[in-house]
Symmetry: C2
Subunit: 255 residues, 2 copies
């Protein structure tokens, strides 16, 4: 049994004021105009509004909402038997209008807002571990700087090898792609220009695609296969081994 739209409006406003998580379901049409534009024809959907004014329309499919906005200014109005819920933002200017023709269900939920998730296995964590012991890559490698900002990007690890060459290290937690190779190439060229010294570029990743490997080798970069394990409180590097042309098996290695 549907809820009276005027009752729904009051309920919704109360929940928004309390900064609870708001859920609304019903028959609605959705229009969006902003960075792009969209229309969602009439149908049953769920609207979710969070305390930080994340605004999302969900269908019964996909992780991602079909329409959304963050940091929205939310307002409701009742007009000719339609309950309109608007999400508005400026910079960039964006507007979502949800036209509810009927409302089945309105609910406010007291839910945790903090982001208290502890995650392990991130690229940063792997980079930290490498920084601790660059001899994993090769003996005599000395750390210079982590997260070194260039004009055109940020270098994961900057180091110096036993012969005094600069070494640029790029770490990837998953299979390296063309983009990763281009990135490293960019960094290496910049460092070479700035420092005016012989510079090497090293890509560390659990695996790399065939085309990416070709591009890497043509660019005179080096690939190191990075083995790691995600155990409970943190990820651990298990091995790091240089790979080159002749060797093919590692290409198949999925993470």
């Amino acid at each position: 049994m549907p809820i009276q739209l005027s009752d729904a409006k009051k309920l919704i406003e109360g929940i928004l004021n309390k900064r609870e998580m708001l859920l609304v379901t019903g028959e609605c049409f959705v229009r969006y105009q902003g960075r792009a534009g969209s229309k969602l024809p009439k149908g049953k959907r769920m609207l979710m509004v969070k305390a930080d004014k994340s605004f999302a329309i969900h269908q019964n499919r996909f992780l991602r909402p079909v329409n959304y906005m963050m940091n929205a200014v939310v307002s409701t109005k009742l007009k000719e038997n339609v309950l309109v819920i608007e999400a508005l933002k400026r910079k960039p200017k964006e507007l979502i209008e949800v036209f509810f023709y009927s409302v089945d269900f309105v609910k406010g939920l007291e839910i945790e807002g903090e982001k208290d998730l502890s995650l392990f296995g991130s690229e940063k964590e792997l980079s930290d571990q490498l920084m601790q012991d660059l001899s994993l890559i090769e003996p005599g490698l000395k750390p210079l700087k982590q997260e070194s900002p260039l004009r055109k990007g940020v270098i994961d690890i900057l180091a110096e090898d036993s012969e005094g060459s600069i070494v640029v290290v790029e770490v990837k937690r998953r299979r390296a792609d063309l983009n990763a190779v281009s990135q490293l190439q960019r960094y290496m060229k910049q460092v070479e220009k700035i420092k005016g010294k012989k510079t090497r570029g090293i890509l560390c990743a659990p695996s790399i695609g065939k085309h990416s490997m070709e591009l890497l080798e043509r660019s005179d970069l080096e690939f190191y296969k990075l083995d790691y394990e995600i155990s409970n409180p943190k990820a651990e590097i298990k091995g790091l081994q240089k790979k080159q042309k002749g060797i093919k098996d590692f290409i198949e290695g999925k993470q």
Copy 2:
């Protein structure tokens, strides 16, 4: 008033069988192990499971869920006064365990599942329009192929100019970045090698960053400022103008 966990379990299983959208809220602890690992300490959260087995734990903040899995195999079990809801996947092997110590609320919703959103203003749409009339870029430009697949990427538009040179066009719907320039550079070099002809690279975007512009010019590529409007049924290109070093104002142009 909390729901008995055994009742909650039955309700949840019924809703999952009906392929309705499932919502469960309550006090829970969440553990994830897979491509990475995470722990979410005990607290009130909302679990959402969709018909396609998208599985998401939401907090009252952010658009994105704090833990998630797509195409999950979902199962429930009751164990020592804890209701455990598991999401399992192989390839890659992933597991989310949600330990509900109490359940406040269980709901099944009949919600649309189709993806019936019509969206306009995508990169593909802009590329289509450009393909219709390449004279927007320069007179005499003849289309050769759209979405042309190379070994190392896909070219948006491949064309030939009035002097018989190959032209590679890359379109971006938003401000072009370093990555976009690298992409175009890659495509251009490949085409040059394959065709063995003089090749130009053109980047079309509403704006471009200063560093990206530098990189682009050093790579002998060209930038065209792409103005477009998103009107109702589709986006429309309003203008396309070549920009080079001397001209600076367009750098400030946010889309």
